[in-house]
Symmetry: C2
Subunit: 364 residues, 2 copies
DNA sequence: CGTCGGAAGTTATACGTAACACCTAGGGAG
DNA sequence: CTCCCTAGGTGTTACGTATAACTTCCGACG
């Protein structure tokens, strides 16, 4: 039964293009978008046929000519499928949730960009978990997640923060997180150890032996790995010495921590290896305050390879992480899981960017 | 009619808590989430009543006791409304689209954060238009927008880029854009002119007279305003001279442009006023290359007030824009428009952050 | 004593899509 | 001549929600 104000417009009018299209829409409230039924009556076919054609499932079920008519009618009317209706029908939303500690960090913004790009190529969307700033326990993401979700990608989150996601039986992909953690359908990790090893070789080659690790004092897997990587890379190197000082994230606390360590008695470290580029910027400021020149008096290295690294003077030697690739691969893994395919494995390589902030230490 | 595998479970069992709740879900496919109908049969009421209670529209229509039963049943079952179904029914999605030139810019990430916060407080979500990097003409946002939308917030977009949105009859709020532009339901702008005036006074007070404006060579309203603001602020100041050099966005092109201008013959500018903090970082590098010290030989100012400004050595004097507030107010304006209220008007103030990169010029 | 009205629900429906099951005509095989 | 098969569709349903319209019960009032 059709409602009275939308009469069974005669399928006969099918071949007159825009006129028929307009006619099919007549009697509708003005602002409303055309539905598949409008397309159907404009093309002179049933709604089911429209759905088949536009859903690309018509091979052998609809004639080439009819399919053409349908597509043209859809174009004329500017038809867009109602995603709410589609999601309701299918029980899937083609939407993934990306959970990151802080979107205002360039790193995670780039992860998002990578994930969104791959998602878009597959007709998927990415929504963000609107988390408060800072790495920390997240509130229940499903209280605020706007859309029903097909899956979740979580980047560098503290282990405990994801409990609510765990309980939701959604496919979960974890980025840059403990690969031993059970539960996630896939992991995407970086070969941090290899990068740190190469960075260490670079510094050792320049003659550095006394290292100060400015470590991020944050409960995140990635920083655990970084700390371990430095320890491992320097273990067994004759004469090498590694001290560690912890600092909260941010330029200021990096400066404070480095300044305090540089003022400490005893032989001064010649290489300040920092857990991210912001901490490294802080370390540079600390050195500056103490009248030390970079890289002549002290070398500084960053981590992540953000824009900041090349904005500083001198530019930072840093380990550049392929943030977009991390996001892209995370999304690809999620798509694979959703389609029942095995996700790609293997760690992503990081690249060593040698710049002006490292040089041979002056002979004492 | 109920489907055979979901029998009309007797409303009698209503008072036995979890057991009844579980019973109401029996016979359902395992992974599926409970629906309002499951809550209804667990509470021993009809689905309509559940909808009334949880939708907070039950005053005078449902007894206090029944409402309590319904809420408890919903809690027991972990019921979440199906947003797709709700959107389909209501024709509204409680979702806004935020269109920004580039999410990897800290400024726009902060705009997003501000908008998302206000949105969340009102049960709204924010999705991003997955735009390619860089300010430029966007593709049709509705091809890729995942969700049906209730409105659009566009920040600092080139005028032409929004044509498809214009055609969509969705409420549009524009941030930091030409207020003369007709169409948008609301504008949120910054009092750039005032900020530049104060920054100019600061520099004039220090004794600067020769200004070099490192201008962003980008077709965006915000940079048009900035250029005009410098010209206006210095117009009529005796002895003041304003030169302009254009540069693409980014540290490197800022450095190149500034370097070239500083090498030019004639009296050297003493103040490099830059269109954003990244260009300013480039200007600092340019000065460094020429052996000029900041702020002794030349002062440099930024724009935006990003983290970068305090990561540099010396820290940048800059105009700090309240990015979160811009986003928050944009979202608030959109909500107002959607509810038929008049949006708040009036420009947001910017604050002058005086730091180490500006000082009195040395007497020639 | 009739009935009016509010309180407390319930029944039924529509939103737009995808897909299953069904239908019809025409042609070829037996 | 009958039967069946295939191409090319159509009719119908369900997804989960919000809400308009209806029902029922009960107390009060004329």
């Amino acid at each position: 039964m059709t409602s009275p104000e939308r009469p069974e417009s005669a399928p006969v009018a099918a071949r007159s293009g825009v006129r028929a299209a307009r006619a099919a829409m007549s009697g509708r409230p003005a602002g409303s978008r055309p539905t598949s039924r409008d397309v159907a009556s404009a093309a002179g076919v049933s709604q089911a046929t429209v759905s088949l054609v536009l859903g690309d499932k018509w091979r052998g079920r609809v004639s080439e000519r009819t399919a053409g008519l349908v597509r043209e009618a859809a174009r004329e009317l500017g038809y867009r499928p109602n995603l709410a209706a589609r999601s309701l029908r299918l029980g899937r939303t083609r939407t993934a949730l990306l959970v990151v500690p802080a979107m205002t960090s360039e790193f995670f913004a780039r992860v998002y960009a990578g994930a969104a790009k791959v998602a878009a190529e597959h007709g998927f969307g990415v929504v963000l978990y609107p988390s408060p700033e800072g790495i920390g326990p997240a509130r229940d993401p499903f209280d605020s997640a706007r859309t029903a979700l097909d899956g979740v990608i979580a980047s560098s989150m503290a282990a405990g923060a994801l409990a609510p996601i765990r309980g939701s039986d959604l496919p979960l992909v974890m980025l840059d997180s403990d690969p031993g953690e059970p539960g996630p359908a896939a992991h995407v990790n970086l070969d941090i150890a290899d990068g740190v090893r190469r960075l260490t070789e670079h510094l050792l080659g320049l003659g550095h032996r006394r290292f100060l690790h400015v470590a991020a004092d944050v409960d995140s897997w990635t920083f655990v790995v970084r700390a371990r990587a430095w320890a491992d890379a320097l273990a067994g190197v004759p004469g090498a010495e590694l001290r560690t000082v912890r600092a909260a994230l941010g330029v200021d606390s990096g400066r404070e921590a480095a300044e305090q360590a540089l003022r400490a008695p005893g032989p001064r470290p010649t290489a300040l290896v920092c857990d991210d580029d912001f901490l490294a910027a802080g370390a540079c400021k600390a050195a500056h305050r103490l009248g030390l020149r970079i890289p002549d008096d002290v070398s500084v290295t960053g981590f992540d390879g953000l824009t900041l690294a090349t904005a500083l003077e001198p530019e930072l030697t840093t380990l550049a992480l392929p943030a977009e690739q991390v996001g892209a691969r995370g999304m690809a893994a999620l798509l694979a899981v959703l389609e029942g395919r095995p996700p790609e494995t293997g760690d992503l390589p990081v690249s060593l960017a040698v710049r002006g902030s490292t040089a041979a230490p002056r002979p004492a």
